[in-house]
């Protein structure tokens, strides 16, 4: 038991220290931001004001706390969308596009089923979102499996294509009459409404359920084992009788399904799909997955952390005048420290890592190579 605990603590150590260091680096930026603020001077207390406002925004009230969970839920799903791919040696940075397509499909089907009983309407809309997301993941998966086009480039291109197509479709074809801006018809009964006075909705529960589900899938099923084997060593997996191509396509579709679900949750919470729909949950998923080291539990914790930052950031902007975009900077710096473990270990005088810990460092291997 003690040994097990120690191994968990060891896994958490570097991410936790990376977060700490990133907050320190960000506080330098926050202090410097005082120079362009109204007072034009350095204020050494500003980081404390900012971070405490951030905490207060996320944990200070019931509403804030529920906002935090609502912000974390889609991040858990997009985190899984990237993280499950990591386990198969795939780097799915197309969660953004998959989110959009999933949300769009959910909005369309939701509007169709708007009059149906609530659970029917929500199920139909969610299912549509999941399937559409899976389709958006299937395309780069099939391209990688059969042509060798690397998923990092194809998914980025698909992100742009999906965004252009969906916003075009909403503006030209599915625009609901009677609104001042281009959007789809209201999703009616498919809309995810908050519980009581909070913003908590059914999708949050669903996202939390996906965590143990994916854990079970990856570590307790044959397919999960095959996914992890292909990720660890595709050549060995092929000799063991597995089909890397099938695994790649399947995994990418699964990743897309998670992202599509995230999109469905976000859109059904809103109740319609606006032609101009910007969300950062797709890219946040990359941070969540890397910070959580591709592990569902780690993904849940990272999503809660990032959700807290996203939910608390508006209050921070009001109270400390620090733009919410600081969260994006913090994310980037966390990732830099995470991948440059050496610095973290040097700063905190830790022992060097045991060899063979770089579990997720496998993507470059298949860059520009054909899968056979």
């Amino acid at each position: 038991m003690k040994k097990r605990f120690r191994s968990y603590a060891g896994k958490l150590l570097i991410p936790a220290l990376s977060i700490l260091l990133a907050l320190v680096v960000a506080s330098i930026l926050i202090i410097a931001s005082g120079l362009v603020g109204p007072d034009k001077q350095l204020d050494w207390t500003l980081p404390f004001v900012a971070y405490s406002a951030l905490l207060q925004g996320a944990f200070g009230s019931v509403r804030g706390f529920s906002n935090m969970l609502v912000a974390a839920a889609p991040l858990m799903l997009t985190g899984l969308a990237v993280g499950v791919g990591l386990k198969a040696g795939l780097f799915n940075i197309g969660a953004s596009g998959q989110v959009l397509l999933g949300g769009f499909a959910a909005a369309l089907l939701g509007a169709r089923a708007a009059g149906a009983p609530m659970w029917v309407a929500i199920s139909v809309a969610m299912l549509a979102g999941i399937l559409a997301g899976a389709l958006a993941g299937f395309i780069p998966g099939a391209l990688k499996a059969y042509t060798g086009a690397h998923e990092v480039v194809t998914t980025i291109m698909l992100n742009a294509l999906i965004q252009l197509t969906v916003s075009g479709l909403v503006t030209d074809v599915f625009r609901a009459p009677g609104f001042t801006f281009a959007r789809t018809a209201p999703a009616g009964n498919a809309t995810l409404v908050g519980l009581g006075t909070t913003t908590l909705h059914f999708g949050v529960l669903l996202a939390f359920l996906c965590i143990p589900l994916s854990y079970w899938f990856l570590w307790r099923t044959t397919t999960g084992f095959e996914i992890r084997s292909v990720g660890a060593n595709p050549t060995a997996a092929r000799y063991a009788g597995m089909n890397p191509r099938r695994m790649i396509i399947m995994t990418m579709s699964l990743c897309g399904a998670f992202a599509g679900m995230a999109g469905a949750i976000e859109i059904l919470r809103l109740g319609y799909y606006p032609a101009v729909f910007g969300t950062s949950i797709g890219f946040d998923g990359i941070t969540v997955a890397l910070l959580g080291q591709g592990n569902p539990i780690g993904i849940m914790l990272s999503a809660l952390l990032l959700g807290a930052m996203r939910a608390g950031a508006p209050l921070m902007q009001i109270k400390a005048g620090v733009p919410v975009e600081i969260i994006d900077v913090i994310q980037g710096v966390i990732l830099i420290f995470l991948s440059a473990e050496v610095i973290v270990r040097k700063i905190f005088r830790l022992k060097a890592a045991a060899p063979g810990t770089g579990e997720i460092q496998t993507f470059t291997r298949t860059y520009g190579e054909k899968v056979t």
């Binding site: 042509t147 980025i156 252009l164 030209d172 900077v329 830099i336 991948s339 993507f363 860059y367 054909k370």
Partner: protein, 361 residues
């Protein structure tokens, strides 16, 4: 086959191609295409420097974006404090020149991070590049929000080639393409040619290719693999920074969040399309971005006959989709080209593999 040719669709396509050729060779479209292709070609040069020596660089996008921001802010600050009137030569001002230099410095600085992470730390190079993209997007958006610039730093002007040259039959449009543009776009063709020659005809080029194909062998004959990779990754940063400066100081005169919009990735595809050669990548960039210019072409000079009516009909019925189709064409072509070319176009053998002097393999 014959029945295929009889289909009206094929006729339309042929008619369309002829029309496109006519427009490109007659109007003022060619310089627009070169302008659109410039950041792609420069980004691809950055990629070639990296990958020819065995380092995968997915972070070109972020380097470009950071370069664009630094270029714009530097030029803006200098312009506000020391305003000068643009000179007749490309509309150059000290502010603009300093902006370009600063962008190059910024590109090199971020390259240093990538080089350190991927060569010294031996982190996964695709993760390293992605981190650069995320950080650059976050940092530039943060700073852009913090320091809201309402002013413009000005832009480089395009040259006006003599009308007699442009009017030359046959090659006039080519002359116009390479002269009726700003200084950065004009420099691209020279950079491409110089690097093509250097890569295949110089000692540096030979060493770079050796390190990218077989670092162990290169090491054995006394080439410092780590040093060469560092140098090439840093040199690559110059082009990414320059591409950023092009976007903010030559193409638009402003900075918007995420203004690179995937161009760094299209550049990678152009590089792969061009089989890791500068000239090939340049042609790839022209092809990809030329497709985006088709939308401009049709707007400026609608094709005659039923084809034009058909297009006008679509535009009227689906204006937003119609515009987005042309905006999205480079992205679509990138996917198609990647799917069709990878496997046939072979990457340098050691691409993406960190070099460890002590290890056995």
């Amino acid at each position: 086959m014959e029945t295929l040719l009889n289909l009206p669709v094929i006729g339309y396509i042929l008619q369309f191609l002829v029309y496109l050729f006519q427009v490109i060779t007659s109007g003022h479209i060619a310089p627009i295409v070169l302008g659109l292709a410039t950041p792609i070609a420069l980004g691809a040069l950055c990629g070639i420097f990296n990958e020819r020596s065995g380092v995968v660089n997915i972070g070109i996008e972020g380097m470009m974006l950071f370069g664009a921001y630094v270029a714009f802010m530097t030029a803006l600050i200098i312009h506000q404090n020391f305003p000068t009137t643009p000179s007749a030569f490309f509309g150059m001002t000290p502010a603009l020149v300093c902006g370009v230099i600063a962008a190059i410095g910024a590109g090199v600085l971020i390259s240093l991070l990538h080089a350190w992470l991927s060569i010294t730390i031996r982190a996964d190079q695709i993760i390293s590049g992605t981190i650069i993209n995320i950080t650059a997007l976050g940092l530039t958006s943060y700073l852009n929000r913090l320091i809201k610039p309402f002013d413009s730093a000005g832009t480089f002007h395009s040259l006006r080639p003599p009308a007699a040259l442009v009017a030359l039959p046959g090659i006039g449009w080519l002359i116009e393409m390479f002269t009726a543009v700003g200084p950065i776009a004009m420099s691209v063709i020279f950079l491409v040619l110089i690097i093509q020659v250097l890569l295949f005809r110089s000692r540096w080029g030979l060493r770079t290719r050796a390190v990218g194909e077989h670092p162990r062998a290169a090491d054995t004959v006394g080439i410092d693999v780590i040093k060469l990779r560092y140098r090439n990754v840093l040199l690559g940063g110059i082009f990414a920074g320059l591409a950023g400066a092009y976007l903010s100081l030559e193409a638009t005169g402003s900075f918007q969040n995420n203004m690179t919009a995937g161009r760094g990735f299209i550049a990678l595809a152009a590089m792969i399309f061009g089989r890791w050669t500068p000239i090939g990548a340049f042609l790839g960039a022209l092809l990809f971005m030329g497709s985006q210019a088709i939308g401009v072409v049709i707007r400026l000079a609608p094709p005659p006959g039923p084809l034009g009516q058909w297009l006008a009909g679509i535009q009227q019925a689906y204006p937003s989709l119609y515009n987005n189709f042309f905006t999205g064409l480079p992205y679509l072509l990138t996917i198609i080209v990647l799917a069709g070319v990878v496997g046939k176009s072979v990457a340098p053998a050691a691409d993406g593999k960190p070099y460890n002097k002590e290890s056995a393999d």
